[in-house]
Symmetry: C2
Subunit: 228 residues, 2 copies
Amino acid sequence: MKYLNQMEATNVDVELFNVYKFSVDQLMELAGLSCSHAVAKCFDVCKHSRVLVCCGPGNNGGDGLVCARHLSLMGYKPHIYYPKRTPNVLYENLMHQCKSMNIPLIEKCPEEKEVANCFDLIIDALFGFSFKPPVRSDFIPIIDVLQKTKIPIASVDIPSGWHVENGKSTDCDFEPTLLISLTAPKHCAKFFKGTYHYLGGRFVPPSLKEKYQLDLPDYPGTETCVKL
Amino acid sequence: MKYLNQMEATNVDVELFNVYKFSVDQLMELAGLSCSHAVAKCFDVCKHSRVLVCCGPGNNGGDGLVCARHLSLMGYKPHIYYPKRTPNVLYENLMHQCKSMNIPLIEKCPEEKEVANCFDLIIDALFGFSFKPPVRSDFIPIIDVLQKTKIPIASVDIPSGWHVENGKSTDCDFEPTLLISLTAPKHCAKFFKGTYHYLGGRFVPPSLKEKYQLDLPDYPGTETCVKL
């Protein structure tokens, strides 16, 4: 299977918006929905209902907000931690939708012990494929929690803080239990040693697949995600 | 189960946009996706791959364009008939996405015989809950095809030309095989006598459900639609 480097991932994204004329709203909705489905397939709602969704400042965080909303509609009890919000109508509306669905927002970074007591699962939607180290100071406390916690982590597209191509780095080496690659896996997914690897974001036009030689697996039936 | 009248359907829609701050892009993507899933559950891709998607000038037509794109990603061979396009960036982009995925556009209304020879299924996404009779002249030929055809029809939200509350009317009385009610069924769905009735559009916030006393069935697991 083809793994994208950072430049290819950026180019695929730009083409989806500029050439194929998708809106961010559309693709974020489909990406976040597929993440919520992958989570539901790996972590049963009866055993993992209490979910801490950690959202970063960019589109990865937006995917996390959409995922939180769909998890809530599927009976999970998500809480959102969203330390650094980018002023942007789309993200503000996504947050508003979550609030309107009574999804609580956690203002202060929870301590590792609190996370262990209050949650069954963490969604890591902090940084995506455009991340470049180092981790900014606002995110050091939550990255620290991700590194120390014993509860399972589901990472959206990239385990946050990992190098997009080289994988774990000296200052960030946690291992998620679930990785949901979006559109196509990035290089760092080769180094993923967790239990479940899914592909989500079932929206790639055949001609774009061909151009980037994305030999992606077929999604079965009506599934929005597929196990790799 | 609660059935919405035309005014309630309009109010629910307005609240989703104005109070809950969803964008049309988001909800149309989820609605169209759920329609494609309901279609795939009722009409196997091996036996019903050739699909004529008839799109109207409003949001119902937009749902149809989204549905066509997702059907194409699931292996169906949709063709779009879209006689009256509203100049609107969203619809233009949805059409562009379909064209970029090599979904053919049919310019002239196909005759009944041609439809019978070339297609296995028709998606009726002409008019939605804001339709008020009579049918405008641009749509009379395609409504005529829907009335005469023997191949199955899947209607999005409302069988087109039916009265939103009273059902069939004297100048439009075809019966779809599948009806996909979106958000909540409208009054006319009580008179539906076809084989399959699904509910799609899994995005209704609990507080909106409560306000309009929408006693909707639970969607199972990760499903985007549910059989009624």
